[in-house]
């Protein structure tokens, strides 16, 4: 044998089949839907955060999750449950600047979002067995994509944010006249928190950390149990996609 097949293959001929794919189904539909959906959501989110209005509903104690935690001096004091340790933000700098990078980072490095945007935006590949337009490909081995490996640190951050949001949603059970209150806003805030937890807990990093990284489940029955629960959630991880957009956009 001469060179290994991996090297020999490069010089050998494949079947001469014209066209980037022979698929006859509408393989382009899914990436298209993803592009339209994601662009719409990002536009909405940018406008919403930049306008910096309606983030706090005083009579009901609703704090929109985008703006939490509200820890700068530009915040309305009642909305700043954790105190105000930062000076006032200059105009046009959104409150969300504190959590948004983490939440965006969490999503940007999410294994499922990665699949979605690699396919729909980067067309790498646009669909299975449809060739990609790029001349070179190195995957997630180099800068900048090697940073996808930090996903688990965003997961830790998301866990903390989920805790804060949970606190906000509890505080929101506050009636107009003090005491206990309940309204549509509570449902939305609560749904948001549940979805955020569901998304965070079903994350692949979470699945690995709670138990997936073990070699012997039999020696760690509790972590094995947790791993099984997270695995079940993990199968539905992407459901969040629609649900969370729905809650955020209220």
């Amino acid at each position: 044998m001469s060179a290994p097949a991996a090297v020999r293959d490069i010089a050998r001929r494949r079947a001469t089949i014209a066209g980037r794919t022979l698929r006859t189904d509408r393989w382009w539909l899914q990436p298209l839907i993803t592009v339209v959906g994601l662009v719409a959501w990002v536009l909405y989110a940018v406008i919403r955060t930049a306008t910096q209005k309606y983030y706090w509903v005083p009579q009901y104690h609703y704090l929109t999750p985008f703006a939490s935690p509200c820890i700068s001096a530009s915040c309305i004091p009642e909305a700043s449950h954790l105190g105000q340790w930062l000076p006032a933000f200059p105009p046009l700098v959104p409150f969300a600047i504190i959590t948004l990078p983490f939440l965006l980072g969490f999503r940007l490095t999410c294994y499922y979002y990665r699949k979605a945007y690699y396919r729909s935006f980067w067309l790498s590949p646009p669909a299975c067995a449809v060739s990609e337009p790029h001349k070179k490909y190195s995957g997630e081995t180099r800068f900048p994509l090697i940073f996808q490996n930090v996903h688990r640190y965003f997961f830790y951050a998301a866990g903390i944010i989920a805790l804060l949001n949970t606190y906000d949603s509890i505080v929101a059970f506050h009636g107009k006249t003090g005491g206990f209150g309940f309204g549509l806003g509570n449902v939305i805030l609560l749904a948001n928190v549940v979805l955020l937890w569901a998304y965070t807990a079903s994350c692949h990093s979470c699945r690995s950390l709670v138990g997936g990284r073990l070699k012997h489940f039999s020696k760690h029955p509790v972590r094995y149990w947790m791993w099984r629960q997270v695995s079940k959630l993990n199968e539905k991880h992407i459901w969040h996609w629609r649900g969370r957009r729905w809650a955020r956009s209220r």
């Binding site: 090297v7 293959d9 050998r12 690699y118 590949p125």
Partner: protein, 252 residues
């Protein structure tokens, strides 16, 4: 019951070839491989096609049917309309031998590079004991029939022959995961091997391997992503990284 199907089959070899049109009889309950066999028996005796079990168990009859990587013996003709032209082509990613047959040596050589199962030194044959919950994950990967449809579909090599030396492909990633999760495997460096020698980092988890696997193995969710996480444990965890730097320095 039966009807005449329009079939388009790639015929040729490494010198070149083309799609040829045929009309072949189809009967109730038949799969693409049956029709290819009928074509071979009645019109094209020298049509090269690899097959063995006709039961989706040997992984020999991999090809692309209407552009989709499939086992020909597990693709029913009644999934197409009677008017539809069914196009059958060889796997794109590997060098063609003739007609529907490709040379899949790439996969066997990648398998050879993989360090074998390493039993614990203190155990003798006959003393191996494993709990079912510990082997369950590996068992999913043992279902692999080595059809190499995942290897063929993976864009890392399908669209880039030049990546072949550095990339072992999803079939080998499930092997890596199988051994790394094996309760008795004593090898220490499977994660490093996956990242550095198998090209795990080149995978961008776009899941086409999982989509085409005829055994329904969750290649991406249960093997590749867990392996990526395990690699992070070893390689991209700053605390571990810092620790190893400090201790190395101290020791030197």
């Amino acid at each position: 019951m039966g009807y005449d199907a329009k079939l388009r089959v790639w015929r040729g070899d490494d010198e070149g070839g083309e799609l040829k049109d045929f009309t072949v009889e189809v009967n109730e309950g038949e799969v693409v491989l049956d029709v290819i066999h009928r074509l071979q028996a009645t019109q094209a005796p020298d049509l090269a096609v690899r097959w063995n079990c006709k039961a989706g168990k040997c992984g020999s009859c991999s090809a692309e049917v209407n552009g989709r990587p499939r086992l020909m013996c597990m693709t029913r003709m009644n999934t197409f309309t009677e008017q539809e032209t069914v196009t059958v082509t060889p796997l794109r990613t590997f060098p063609v031998v003739r007609d529907l047959v490709t040379d899949v040596s790439f996969n066997y050589e990648k398998a050879l590079e993989m360090p074998a199962f390493q039993p614990p030194a203190e155990l003798k044959p006959g003393e191996y004991r494993m709990a079912q919950v510990d082997v369950e994950r590996s068992q999913e990967f043992r279902k692999c029939i080595e059809c190499f449809l995942c290897q063929n579909t993976c864009h890392v090599v399908r669209d880039h022959d030049e990546n072949k030396p550095a990339f072992s492909g999803p079939r080998m990633f499930i092997r890596a995961a199988e051994l790394d999760m094996h309760p008795l495997d004593a090898a220490e460096n499977r994660k490093e091997f996956a990242q550095e020698s198998q090209g795990l980092g080149m995978c961008n988890i776009t899941k086409c391997c999982t989509e085409v696997c005829p055994e329904g193995i969750h290649i991406t969710d249960n093997a590749i992503i867990p392996m990526k996480e395990r690699v992070v444990d070893r390689k991209y965890d700053p605390l571990v990284w810092l620790g190893s730097k400090i201790f190395k320095r101290a020791g030197a």
